[in-house]
Amino acid sequence: MAATPMTLLTALNTALRDVLADDPKTLVMGEDVGRLGGVFRVTEGLQKDFGEDRVMDTPLAESGIVGTAIGLALRGYRPVVEIQFDGFVFPGYDQIVTQLAKMPARSRGLIRLPIVIRIPYGGGIGAVEHHSESPEALFAHVAGLRVMSPSNPSDAYWMLRQAVQSDDPVIFFEPKRRYYDKGEVDTTASDQPPAHRARVVRPGTDLTLAAYGPMVRTCLDAAAVAAEEGRQLEVVDLRSISPVDFDTVRESVRRTGRLVVAHEAPVFFGAGAEIAAHVTEHCFYHLSAPVLRVGAYHSPYPPSRLEDEYLPGIDRVLDAVDRAFAH
């Protein structure tokens, strides 16, 4: 089968449909994932086709959802959990950090917990409080979790499939403001690189722009603008932030000599810090300028009328690029 155009949302739905069909041990669970198909419709139609036993509406309790998913995984199931919005993952954070992340190491590998926790995340959709956050750094610091975020429909499909297949717990951040982005998805092209490999999505020679999830498109757009001004920016889609594919990033930076990291999350203690610190340590003599970070401010996600100021857009990315060249 050739590639089909679909939205990122449909790609996710298709991936879930395919994993449910492939493996009877796979389950989908969360608030409103059944009859309603989730508030974003990522799970649309799944309960109808796979039954209430496989696609479970749960009580409204995130700790309960994650905790029971762990129990189901201990029994041999592979739950794919939906957290309704980024800001509502925290009641489940204890189960994620103290149990899901640690139980495999606690048991010296005797226990594996193949659980995927899907979290629609990020802002830019004009939502009320708690519906626009980017808490990925709070998971990446926790050993035992894999943390990833696709930026386009094809990756959404394949990375979710890989996440479900992985025997490790995966926190799967879905860029909700890109749900309706369209792209080609070839559901038969199973020779995909693993989710933890970054991808150069636009080659360039003058500066490396690293991003993941919703900011990849922003960075591509920024690179297009910069190209008009004669600067060739290389854009790296990290795809995964635990682990980070530093090989790809270092290789790029050694060529370009400059790096800007962009994410929606606040800069302070964000993913950009880890990437800047690591790359600087390992590419010290290749850098013509310090690694610069672009992200939100050290302030809670603001009311939506301020989100354009809060979130880094093309202009702020280009401003950082300018500053990197000014060095």
Binding site: R35, V39, P59, L60, P91, G126, V128, P302, P303, D319
Partner: protein
């Protein structure tokens, strides 16, 4: 205690008695309750409209829950303190909150930044169940102060599944905190019916924590008022918390983003329409000739005036200044915020220069 719960007014508008709960309400009070509900309903409808017109980002309609909200809030004394969830618009109005202040949240101008002390009405809380613990702590503080104020905490049927609500029940019970837990069981948590949240009627939950819980007909404003009054008296007397389950129905969508036809039958909605909280009080007022057409016309006019004020106010609502991003995060200086504020100012200024 099963079925629709304690009732003092039938859907047909007839007053009935209850062995334990009674209400001695004169014509004026009855009319005032009707007015509260009617204004809330009109305000709510305007919220839906404004959202449809793109003036609001979101609106969670209270349609159908007017009696549960008005009956409960009108049981309070001035010094009492309310901890709402996010759908308590009628409660907000009755506490005296300016509706335009409330609408700032839904327009995305702020996060609902009213002064909780000004009206004894805490901020809306969107993380399900969280506020029940704040209410409990506040109530512990009230008791420490030796005050005889009481606290009223609102939450939904879905919220009862959250660990925080269970912890709030237990802390309140252990500390004898003067808090009434008021659950508006509107039958739905977005698309999930009660059966997905609980095995038993929700008021029973209280028994397991050692305090009383009752179910009241949440569409009967008189019963809600009577039961909440009794509950408040109970908690004020130092006997610890009390749970009221107001059995009601969410007539509209969960919020304007929701499409309830995907998950529930219109027959169910229709059956609840027959229990409409306003209609039954109107029937009583008319049957007993406690209000005439002029009264209802007046209330309607008042509602329209409110709607106009709200509409105009929302449309002309100023957006916040971008610098606000940095202004309220901390009470005292914080190096990171200061640095970012300065960078932001310089960045903004660079456009001014360019432009």
């Amino acid at each position: 205690m099963s079925g629709d719960g304690i009732r003092l007014l039938t859907p047909e508008g007839e007053r009935v008695t209850h062995p334990e709960y009674g209400l001695d309400a004169g014509p004026e009070e009855l009319r005032a309750l009707y007015r509260d509900m009617a204004l809330a309903r009109r305000f709510d409808a305007e919220g839906v409209t404004l959202q449809r017109q793109g003036e609001l980002g979101l609106w969670p309609s209270l349609l159908g829950q007017e009696a549960a909200q008005v009956g409960s809030v009108r049981a309070l004394a001035d010094g009492d303190h309310v901890f709402p969830s996010y759908r308590e618009h009628a409660v907000a109005l009755c506490r005296g909150l300016d509706p335009l202040v409330l609408l700032r949240l839904f327009r995305g101008v702020d996060h609902g930044a009213w002064d909780p002390d000004a009206h004894g009405f805490h901020l809306y809380t969107l993380v399900i169940g969280s506020q029940t613990l704040h209410a409990t702590g506040y109530a512990c503080g009230v008791a420490k102060d030796g005050s005889d104020a009481a606290v009223l905490a609102y939450f939904g049927d879905g919220a009862t599944s959250q660990g925080d609500v269970a912890e709030a029940f237990n802390f309140a019970a252990v500390y004898d905190a003067p808090v009434v837990f008021f659950c508006q069981n509107n039958q739905w948590a977005i698309s999930e019916p009660n059966a997905r949240q609980t095995r038993v009627p929700l008021h029973q939950r209280a028994q397991g924590y050692g305090f009383p819980g009752v179910r009241v007909d949440g569409n009967d404003v008189l019963a809600v008022l009577a039961v909440t009054r009794a509950a408040l008296e109970h908690v004020r007397s130092g006997r610890g918390p009390f749970l009221v389950e107001a059995f009601t129905y969410r007539m509209g969508a969960h919020t304007t983003s929701d499409d309830p036809t995907r998950y529930r039958d219109s027959a169910e909605v229709e059956s609840w329409r027959a229990k409409d909280p306003l209609l039954r009080l109107e029937r009583l007022l008319r049957r007993e000739e406690l209000a005439d057409d002029a009264f209802f016309a007046e209330v309607t006019a008042e509602g329209e005036a409110l709607a106009v004020r709200v509409r105009e106010g929302v449309r002309s609502m100023p957006s916040p200044a971008p610098e606000e991003l940095f202004d309220h995060v901390y009470a005292e200086a914080h190096g990171e915020v200061d640095r970012e504020r300065a960078e932001f100012a310089a960045y903004q200024a660079s456009f001014a220069e360019e432009g």
